[in-house]
């Protein structure tokens, strides 16, 4: 298995490079799994946290905000996972004696947690979006991509652009309703 430099790893994540993603998984996932499983979590939690952490990192890479000062990628990933898992436990209000130790070296914890919070929210929204009917998803995507209504009507086989507009609002309304009805939504207000 070849080794990668930190720069290569970050670039690999940015490009969704499968080899790099596999390398990261093989090299660092076991520790993270151990961390979560030995602190009131199970395998699924570990996997969620691992994915969440990588996506937080991914978003930071896209925004050019990543700074790895004097620490390896593994340490960075591990400390983010730890931070996020801690936050999850706090949310679940579980009693635990798992506190971040001094070795949490991520310097912008607040920012990371905000990103995490937003990601959780997006996950919920995306889940409800995926459960919409196919035509609804398509109409919403097209209009967010700024495709003109006339063209949308054409693609979807609607009679008129007026109907396309109506359909768009109906779908959005349905989506917003479903999201608001989800008990998890309250966590975000």
């Amino acid at each position: 298995m070849r080794e990668y430099s930190v720069e290569e790893l970050l670039e690999g994540i940015r490009q969704h490079n499968t080899d790099v993603l596999k390398f990261i998984y093989r090299s660092y996932y076991p520790q993270i799994q151990h961390l979560v499983v030995t602190n009131s979590g199970n395998d699924d939690d570990a996997q969620d946290i691992y994915q969440d952490a990588l996506i937080v990192i991914y978003k930071k890479i896209l925004k050019n905000e990543i700074q790895l000062v004097d620490c390896s990628f593994g340490t960075y990933l591990y400390s983010i996972c730890k931070l996020l898992w801690l936050k999850q436990l706090e949310k679940k209000k579980q009693n635990n004696d798992f506190y971040p130790e001094d070795d949490v070296i991520v310097d912008d914890n607040e920012e990371l947690l905000q990103e995490f919070e937003q990601m959780e929210k997006f996950k919920l929204f995306q889940k409800h979006f995926r459960s919409l009917r196919k035509d609804c998803r398509k109409v919403l995507e097209l209009s967010l991509e700024k495709v003109p209504l006339k063209k949308i009507a054409e693609i979807m086989g609607y009679k008129s652009d007026k109907y396309a507009k109506k359909r768009k609002y109906q779908c959005k309304e349905k989506l917003v309703d479903n999201i608001k009805k989800d008990p998890k939504f309250k966590e975000f207000i």
Binding site: L21, L54, I55, Y58, F122, L144, K172, E173
Partner: protein
């Protein structure tokens, strides 16, 4: 939230409001924190819908997780089964068959839904290793072939498996590899020979995949007859066969 407000919010977010309407809406927004919240929510939902890259990355990570986990499992099973105590004993063969059946059953329980009957019901079978620890060239070949199958190198697998004439397990994975590479005629032939052989543990599986070959190659009559047979039997594919029958 009434439809009219939703329409306003969307138009506002899309920069579609004209001067007067825009001013009115902004004024309303300043005074009405509820409306403000609503606008924020709508805007975030839009962002989430458009955040396809992260969703894609998450799916990719998920796939890697599953793939590598399965490989570990396979490696572990090979290890267990390679222990001398099991070597060439009948008990090992039976145990292996049970493991295979269990894994087949389990992997089928997770069928992903997608479009088309074939893709709906066909799922690549995980080759979990169960090779007796022999050192004859044939045994080594089989082990390599199953690894190749597992790594989705189906052409390699075919290459190695097609000479293993008397081994039903080899035949089974040969059939699956043909199916994966769209060599339907050969797949059909191979599954048929497993069924004709009768005394083996892969008849149910072979019947099922043969029926999918028929579906895929649009031989509806043949597919129907076989699926009816499966749905009348106690096959683990009974329910799936019934479902397909309703669709064709």
């Amino acid at each position: 939230m009434d439809t009219r407000t939703i329409k306003l919010i969307e138009e506002y977010l899309n920069d579609e409001l004209e001067s007067e309407a825009l001013k009115a809406f902004q004024a309303e927004l300043n005074e009405n924190p509820e409306l403000m919240k609503e606008v924020k929510l709508h805007s975030e939902i839009n962002q989430a819908i458009m955040d396809k890259d992260s969703q894609k990355l998450r799916n990719e990570l998920q796939a890697i997780h599953q793939e590598l986990k399965r490989k570990q499992l396979a490696a572990r099973i090979i290890k267990v089964l390679s222990k001398p105590v099991y070597a060439s004993s009948l008990a090992a063969t039976v145990l292996i068959a049970i493991i295979v059946a269990g894994i087949l059953f389990f992997s089928d329980a997770n069928t992903n839904s997608s479009e088309g009957i074939f893709s709906n019901y066909y799922q690549a079978d995980d080759a979990i290793m169960m090779v007796r620890s022999g050192t004859s060239p044939e045994d080594i070949n089989l082990k390599e072939a199953l690894l190749a199958y597992h790594e989705k190198k189906y052409d390699n697998a075919i290459e190695l498996l097609q000479h293993q004439n008397n081994n039903i397990l080899a035949k089974y994975y040969l059939g699956l590899s043909y199916l994966e590479t769209d060599k339907l005629e050969k797949a059909i032939e191979t599954f048929q020979s497993i069924i004709e052989h009768k005394n083996n543990l892969f008849v149910e599986q072979a019947e099922w995949y043969l029926s999918l070959c028929y579906v895929k190659s649009a031989r509806e009559e043949k597919a129907k007859i076989l699926l009816e047979k499966i749905s009348d039997s106690k096959s683990i594919y009974k329910e799936k066969a019934e479902k397909i029958l309703k669709k064709i």
